[in-house]
Subunit: 506 residues, 2 copies
């Protein structure tokens, strides 16, 4: 007879072993992107699928279900926000999702993704949708099958979204997005007709990579990123990753002719890294020690990148230092010119290069197309046309080719439908969280002006990072801000900041 | 009922899974030495012991014994050097060794090693044997217990040696070493009294690290090291490692004020790397695709480093290139001066800095002490005095402190008794193999003079690398050279080369 406490302890052990296996997967991936010689590609995929398969099988063992049943019926979970109750709730969530998907389907998605990713790389390079089409069609079938296997109340997209943002629904997201859309579309139009224009040429001067490394590191350190428990490397597609307790690595891409690329990339990944570095170490390997979901994770990268890093107060401290680092490129620019330049709003084709205002339109477009695809209302052959039509509607621009259109993102090549909306959720949460932080810490901007970010980090640590998965995102936002997730904070922020920069009414 | 073929296939699968787990261990280790942030140390040791434990348990499962019994009684192994017979022979060897050692003892050695290693680092830094003493005492007890568990005919040291050089015996090694000692001791004495002296100051000029990187890479590429399946990184203690099929990484240490350190270090590790890169890929993860043992492995590092890389013919090609790379340091040196300098013989305290002649005396000293320790004839407290006494006898030098004496090597801190003799076995084999190569390829040195090492690599690949563990080291040497392992080739090489350089009779 297994007691509830024994069952809970056994679950802790399984959870930590699964986390260790996942950490090996993260190291294999980090190494592949940073260091691995080309000739190792094929064996590396064997190594990665081995550890992923081990972790998956370990976690979907029926024993996990048995153990969860024992603990769920016990006193151990009577306080719903106790460590044990949180772990059990999230194990149950993750177990039910994982166990419902047949291993055959998991493996087929994984195998198809390998080929699809390769095809997507070529298709994007050649701007040739036809190369990706058969793989995408297959992945869509598999992902729809997966949604059916997981189950949902009324919308299959819910089953996918829940994988990245546990507990969130398509209906909720739609409401938030339409509220945001109504404000952003006229703001973008107003900005396009504004007479003020930033001198973006400042940012396209010469920024030697060695100095960008120094400057980016200094900026990460100033935010509180701990290099004793992390590092920064150069890669093609930047990311942040936890490769084990005490080891959260971030990556960036340097461009000698564009200041923003590595600098704001580093601030962004530092935001992800700060979240991971400040999760409660004693709960490592259990939900209580993990990030809430992709939305809150993205809220941290966007908060540190945009709400702090593109703030005028931030640059009052950092601009003189940037001028010192790059005298030949920045000595003739003023703080205000520089700040306006890094906040340029310009409709463009590529999501990852988009500014704070237009970024969310990119996400909405993908969210709408994905829903249609998953519902079965949009055939794979019609994706490019649907993309381009909607893009023109939102941005007033004709997409020149599919590599600047529906082939630009990696997500679909691994079947990652349901992921995109978490980016805009992140922006919405970031605005609400930053508002709450400003209210709690009235001198926050004054501290930015002297390069002091410790109060903000401490507040975020207490309110978000320390909490792990204690609260789902909706509940977390409610507790921090006193309100449900809501677009009004982001709308107010965008209107005020960009209305003032461009001298327009949004 | 499992058929022999089914049993063999299952063994192949287990073997490949064990190899994959070990490759994860190698990546964890490589990353720890090259990239890992300090704060990850503790969790990293968890990750490493997890994969090591998994590999160990998988391989010592009684099922392996059952399967081996089935195949061993079958026709599959009737040709003793067929792939199947080789795999079965070596699986049996490795299984019997591994399965005889109780898991409790394996874990205790592993736990003790972690603490012992830490203590050794401090002890060496402070030249304070007392800090290491209790850990060493405990490790000696555990290693002696391990030797008993593994079993041996008459000498417990055999059980340890066999772990690094399968099938080799202490008695054989003693015979080889005493033959070598008789020739080397007078040669060292003659050289010490020689009137010719190399101008070693040439090598201690300024060699900028960025240029050392270029030059070292060029030298590795010239030998045939494949950067599509490898890379070179800087570390504190250099090594070569296989982190997966198609991924053999080497490491080095740069010293701006000493040419030899990284250059010959790279040639040495390239030798190890060439062996690993040229093992038969189709047998990856099985003994047929693995290196014979540490002795033959070391023979390849020493062959490429010394027999090729310290050869005059080699420098006829490379010295003009070195002068081009480092004009400010080498333009006033002649080829002959440079060649003499890189071949300086000088009794010194540190093994890893020793020249080709005195190196083997360092090994003999350790081999003799280790035997006494394992026999129980040398108490742990008496190790420093015994070391220093014997050192003076061999080298005519008084050891100034234990960090330059018995604390200098890492091996004992992980219980690696029995490892040292493989270094000198490597030198002996290298001399015999190089002789055989010179006979098979009469224009070998002429090819070196024009920088062409492809014929040597092809010959080694055919005769050694392609063979995997098909033959044990003794048998391999016999097949290549027509003779048993023997010191006469090394003795003749040392006498001729250094007799001529120093103008002495050895």
């Amino acid at each position: 007879m297994t007691t509830p406490q024994q069952a809970y302890n056994e679950l802790l052990q399984i959870s930590r072993e699964v986390a260790l296996l996942k950490s090996l997967g993260s190291l294999l991936n980090w190494d592949q992107e940073t260091n691995m010689p080309r000739g190792a590609t094929s064996y590396r995929s064997q190594q990665r699928s081995y550890v992923a398969g081990k972790a998956h099988r370990l976690f979907i063992d029926p024993r996990v279900d048995e153990l969860l049943n024992i603990v769920e019926a016990s006193e151990l979970v009577s306080d719903p926000f106790s460590d044990a109750a949180v772990n059990v709730r999230e194990w149950r969530h993750d177990y039910d999702r994982a166990a419902k998907v047949p291993s055959r389907l998991v493996e087929e998605i994984s195998r198809t993704s390998v080929l699809a990713h390769e095809a997507w790389v070529n298709a994007r390079r050649d701007a040739n949708f036809a190369l990706f089409r058969p793989h995408l069609a297959k992945l869509i079938d598999l992902v729809r099958e997966m949604a059916e296997a997981i189950g949902y109340e009324s919308n299959p997209y819910d089953a996918l979204l829940d994988g990245y943002e546990p507990g969130e629904t398509t209906a909720n997201v739609e409401k938030l997005f339409s509220q945001l859309r109504e404000a952003v579309v006229p703001l973008v139009q107003a900005i396009q007709h504004a007479s003020r224009r930033p001198k973006v040429e400042i940012l396209q001067r010469h920024f030697p990579i060695e100095r960008q490394k120094l400057f980016g590191q200094a900026a990460a350190i100033a935010f509180g990123y701990d290099f004793q428990r992390g590092r920064i490397d150069a890669v093609t597609h930047p990311f942040a990753t936890d490769v084990g307790l005490g080891d959260v690595r971030i990556t960036t891409r340097y461009n000698e002719r564009f200041f923003n690329e590595s600098f704001f990339g580093i601030l962004h990944e530092t935001g992800h890294g700060l979240y991971e570095q400040n999760l409660p170490a004693e709960h490592y390997g259990t939900p209580r020690g993990e990030a809430v979901g992709m939305g809150v994770h993205e809220s941290q990268s966007r908060l540190w990148e945009n709400f702090v890093g593109r703030n005028l107060a931030y640059w009052e401290h950092w601009f003189p230092r940037a001028q010192q680092m790059y005298p030949e490129s920045l000595s003739d620019a003023t703080l205000e010119e520089f700040h306006f330049a890094i906040n340029e709003v310009r409709p463009s084709f590529i999501r990852v290069e988009a500014d704070e205002v237009t970024y969310n339109l990119h996400i909405m477009l993908r969210f709408e197309l994905e829903q249609a695809i998953i519902r079965g209302d949009l055939a794979v052959d019609d994706i490019p046309a649907a993309w381009n039509e909607r893009f023109e509607q939102y941005f007033g621009l004709k997409t020149p080719d599919d590599s600047q259109g529906c082939l630009q993102d990696v997500h679909w090549s691994f079947g990652g439908f349901g992921y995109f909306p978490t980016y805009t959720l992140g922006n919405l949460y970031a605005a609400q969280i930053f508002d709450a932080a400003c209210q709690a810490l009235p001198d926050l901007e004054a501290r930015f002006r002297v390069g002091d970010f410790a109060p903000l980090l401490a507040w975020l640590k207490e309110n978000i990072y320390d909490q792990g998965r204690r609260y789902r995102s909706r509940e977390l936002i409610r507790r921090i801000t006193g309100r449900d997730p809501d677009a009004s904070a982001l709308i107010a922020y965008l209107r005020e900041k960009f209305g003032s920069l461009y001298d327009v009414d949004g």
